[in-house]
């Protein structure tokens, strides 16, 4: 009965402000939950949670899991699972650490510190992740072994392959340039951050404009102009506010003084320097944009979602779902490698337990972010927000002084609760 309006000649009336803005209620709910978590911890920590310093730390702690969560969305959307991402991260990290500290210097004669080393190491790491992921995809897609089994095996295999690669040793310190991908050791500074923020703003405004122009061209209904401006204002405030907060976190005077002393210079009176946007966060932002375009605007992405929604229909439409599976797992593998760059750079070395339990965090981030295990549904921004919510919970509890075991109990419960809320929400709205 509620559907009758669709049979009238006109487009259905716009229902409320969120509908007018075409903002997804689900996303809004997640943002609301995130803000609530932040505010609660801010009160509990007497305002220490929402300081520029802590926000800076939160963002750099989230990156590694968030990178992998974007790939996990595609995996889960196609009704698979990948339990091996943490172990694969460890293998890629081990490969990259050995490449830069041992193989290149000793076997190839490139001495440690050579400018090419970090890039060759990253290339080798990405290739390893890609190949291993593709192999998983081959086992799942062509040999029809369930992904759960393939990647459960992978979890054991790659964790221990990593151990053999490094003979169980911690490898470090890693290359200086390589370390810049870790967070605090590589940031854009105030000016660079404002430039990036400005470009992001221009890009967002252009995207809004282009979308509207396209709709008008085809004669589709568009949002009222005031709604476009309101949306633009919200996006603009979010981008510039984010830059402002990260710029407000300044390098401690001690650290600056030491830097100047090392350079043999006198630090000028009242000199300050901002950290600004970490390179790792910038990497995540670029990746998020790229993966969103892949999900929504490429054939590959369209086939991922079609296959998740109805594998038979996808097959009957001529989609090669086996090869698609290989590509999805290969992408996941490459993202594990990228994540390994960030994670090992942040620690400044490769250690045996790097990425331990990350598979659970990554799956939880994707699922909290609205990816349905039944397949066919999930968003990149949702998964990143999921990762951010989980990291906030964990850091917040640590700051409040909650014991580690209790932290895990809370995070586990939140995961189950988030899925329950999602199920109830989808039943209410009748959404798929």
């Amino acid at each position: 009965m509620a559907q009758t309006d669709t049979n009238s000649g006109r487009a259905p009336a716009r229902k409320n402000i969120f509908h007018t803005l075409e903002i997804d209620l689900r996303l809004l709910g997640m943002i609301g939950a995130f803000i609530a978590v932040c505010l609660v911890f801010n009160v509990l920590t007497d305002g220490r949670f929402l300081t520029p310093r802590n926000i800076f730390n939160l963002t750099i702690q989230t990156v590694s899991v968030a990178i992998m969560a974007t790939g996990m969305v595609f995996i889960i959307v196609t009704r698979h699972i990948d339990l091996s991402v943490g172990a694969l991260l460890a293998t890629c990290s081990a490969v990259m650490a050995m490449t830069q500290t041992d193989w290149l210097p000793n076997a190839m004669g490139l001495e440690f510190g050579h400018p090419l080393i970090p890039w060759i190491a990253i290339g080798v790491g990405l290739l390893s992740g890609l190949v291993i992921g593709a192999f998983h995809g081959y086992l799942v897609g062509y040999l029809a072994i369930p992904a759960f089994i393939v990647t459960l095996g992978g979890l054991l295999v790659w964790r221990n392959v990593a151990w053999y690669i490094t003979s169980g040793k911690t490898i470090g310190p890693l290359d200086e340039t390589f370390q810049k991908f870790g967070g605090i050791n590589g940031t854009l500074g105030a000016t660079g951050s404002w430039i990036v923020g400005g470009l992001a703003l221009l890009g967002a405004l252009y995207a809004l404009y282009a979308a509207r122009r396209n709709k008008v061209k085809h004669g589709f209904p568009v949002k009222p102009v005031w709604a476009e401006f309101l949306l633009a204002a919200i996006i603009g405030a979010a981008i510039l506010g984010f830059v402002a907060i990260l710029n407000a976190y300044e390098v401690p005077t001690r650290v600056l003084q030491r830097t100047f002393e090392q350079a043999g210079l006198e630090m000028p009176e009242g000199y300050t320097q901002s950290y600004g946007i970490p390179i790792s966060v910038l990497l995540l932002i670029f990746l998020a944009i790229a993966m969103t375009i892949v999900a929504r605007r490429t054939r590959f992405g369209r086939y991922v979602f079609a296959t998740g929604g109805n594998p038979d229909a996808a097959e009957l439409s001529g989609i090669n779902t086996r090869w698609l599976t290989v590509k999805i797992f290969a992408l996941m593998g490459a993202l594990c490698a990228l994540s390994a760059v960030v994670a090992s750079a942040r620690l400044t070395n490769h250690s045996n337990d790097i990425g331990t339990l990350d598979e659970l965090r990554v799956i939880a981030a994707a699922v909290i972010g609205g990816t349905a295990l039944a397949g066919g549904i999930g968003t990149i921004h949702g998964a990143i927000l999921g990762a951010l919510i989980m990291q906030s919970l964990q850091s917040g509890m640590a700051m409040v002084g909650v014991d580690a075991p209790l932290q895990n109990i809370v995070v586990g419960s939140v995961l189950v609760l988030a899925v329950l809320i999602d199920i109830v929400y989808r039943k209410r709205t009748g959404g798929a």
Binding site: T6, N7, R299, G301, R302, A306, S317
Partner: protein
């Protein structure tokens, strides 16, 4: 009639001696059917007779264990749905084969997306095309931005029909295309079939409605337990003859032969 039509004309489709079995079940057992331009051939038979399986071999969903397919006189190797589409064979599946989580336009163009010069999927252009074809096929259809899971059975069926018709099929397979449609929409599909036939398109129409078959088809092939009972000119038989073929598996006048 059909005999006259056949002389000197190459059939669009000629499936010869097709067999397929699933783990001992002979779903299609030495069946031969053919289809000429501008002709509608009805495929009849009780549930599980093998009708869908037979046409799925033509549409590339299954591969025959044995037998040959000739399309426009040439031997065709159809190993997947892409091959069939390339031969201008389009199919409306009994199950509709829609991805429920995608909207009508994404389903209509699935596997054949329109892209921008940059190679990105052009959703707006696809929606515009979908609106155009839906305006012809089902003017009541308005839910262009909802996933097809939110559509009624009839609306879903019209999306599946639009997909088969949009890409200039020369050979159209319709597996119970009106099963979920109301009387008005069913009437529209009948008109559509007449129209496509007039354009010289050949249609395999699977239906359980003998009345429809008598009205729309030129010939009817009847299957039972995976085997072909026979193919008759619809003008030469009565409803009861067809029913007899379906139920008893006997060709009319077979006793006299």
């Amino acid at each position: 009639m059909a005999q006259v039509q056949k002389q000197g004309v190459t059939p669009l489709v000629d499936m010869r001696d097709i067999c397929i079995s699933f783990g001992g079940v002979h779903a299609v057992d030495h069946v031969s059917v053919d289809l000429y331009p501008g002709e509608v051939v009805g495929l009849l038979g009780h549930n599980g007779a093998g009708k869908s399986t037979l046409i799925k071999i033509l549409s590339g969903a299954y591969q025959a264990d044995s037998g040959e397919i000739y399309v426009r006189g040439e031997k065709a190797t159809i190993t997947n749905p892409r091959d069939a589409r390339a031969l201008k064979i389009e199919t409306i599946y009994q199950t509709l084969a829609l991805a429920d989580n995608l909207d009508a336009a994404s389903n209509l163009f699935l596997g054949r997306e329109l892209v921008t010069p940059l190679g990105l999927v052009d959703d707006d252009a696809m929606e515009a095309e979908t609106r155009k074809i839906m305006a012809k096929l089902n003017p009541n259809f308005k839910k262009f931005n909802d996933p097809v899971s939110a559509l009624s059975g009839g609306q879903r069926q019209s999306v599946a029909i639009a997909r088969a018709v949009y890409f200039d099929a020369q050979i159209l397979i319709m597996d119970e295309p009106t099963a979920a449609l109301g009387p008005h929409e069913t009437q529209m599909v009948s008109e559509l079939i007449e129209q496509l036939k007039a354009q010289g398109i050949g249609i395999f129409l699977i239906s359980h409605d003998i009345h429809d078959v008598m009205k729309l088809c030129d010939r009817a092939s009847v299957m039972k337990n995976g085997q072909l009972v026979g193919t008759v000119d619809v003008d030469d038989v009565t409803d009861d003859d067809l029913l007899g073929m379906i139920i008893l598996g006997k060709k009319p006048g077979a006793a006299a032969d």
